[in-house]
């Protein structure tokens, strides 16, 4: 039988990275994100008896962290990032009214694509572009990809329709791709 401390130690090693990345995305402050992660594990240690084996530790820890994040926003009197819906607009940045790419935004080849993910410079630009996304688009992208949440869950959590969700994913990916394209020099 493992002691509570041993279990928490194991969880700290396994989940600190992903919890911290999420807390940072929400708060945009390094020190605050670190505090929130610490508080999460403190609560986890105190209430470890309530943890049921059948739920995954990751889900459980994220539940605690999200409560902490909500408390933080409430105390600060800050609202979480506004949800920015996408408005269909005559003047589309990416597409002509016919729905075809504008010549200025049509994707072309990237070089050395297979090695990009290991390139620190590429990851820097990725972060830069992620932070530049409007409203909560970045959060929704990370909920989908980094946390691996299904679209249904994200729609419930953000109270958006499925159509709206796909518009946001679509626009967010288009915007990210374009931003990386414009900032990346091979």
């Amino acid at each position: 039988m493992k002691t509570k401390q041993e279990i928490i130690k194991q969880w700290v090693t396994q989940y600190t990275g992903v919890l911290y990345a999420w807390a940072f995305t929400k708060t945009k402050e390094k020190a605050m994100a670190e505090d929130l992660v610490q508080d999460t594990f403190l609560v986890a240690l105190e209430s470890a008896d309530k943890f049921r084996e059948e739920s995954s530790p990751k889900t459980w820890l994220f539940g605690i962290l999200n409560n902490k994040i909500n408390d933080y926003f409430r105390k600060q009197g800050k609202a979480p990032l506004p949800f920015t819906s996408f408005m269909e607009d005559d003047d589309d940045y990416f597409f002509e009214s016919s729905g075809h790419w504008k010549s200025t935004t049509a994707p072309s080849a990237w070089h050395e694509e297979s090695h990009l993910l290991d390139n620190p410079e590429f990851n820097k630009i990725l972060n830069f572009c992620l932070e530049k996304l409007p409203g909560s688009w970045g959060e929704i992208l990370l909920a989908k990809y980094m946390l691996g949440k299904k679209s249904k869950i994200i729609c419930q959590e953000n109270q958006i329709t499925e159509t709206n969700y796909w518009q946001i994913i679509h626009r967010a990916k288009l915007t990210m791709r374009d931003c990386i394209n414009n900032n990346w020099r091979e």
């Binding site: 090693t13 729905g99 075809h100």
Partner: protein, 78 residues
């Protein structure tokens, strides 16, 4: 099918099944549209990069963060 519709379908297809008719139209569009083929490749790459986002914290920095968190959490034990 135009590029706006094609790129939306590319995103949807990553997570869910799309109808056979739509799939055939998408496949055909991708054979004639270079820009959308590049979009598909680069969008997939972005998906991979975003999935790995948590591992991007430099390992040194992460190790120190873990140490600090652990110390605080275990010291706090009454």
């Amino acid at each position: 099918m135009n590029c706006k519709q094609a790129t939306l379908l590319i995103e949807k297809r990553e997570e869910e099944k799309i109808g056979l008719f739509a799939l055939v139209k998408l496949r055909y569009h991708l054979t004639i549209c270079k820009a959308c083929s590049f979009y598909r490749e680069q969008s997939r790459l972005l998906s991979q990069a975003l999935s790995k986002k948590a591992d991007q914290i430099p390992s040194q920095e992460l190790a120190e963060l873990e140490k600090r968190v652990l110390k605080k959490v275990l010291d706090n034990k009454p």
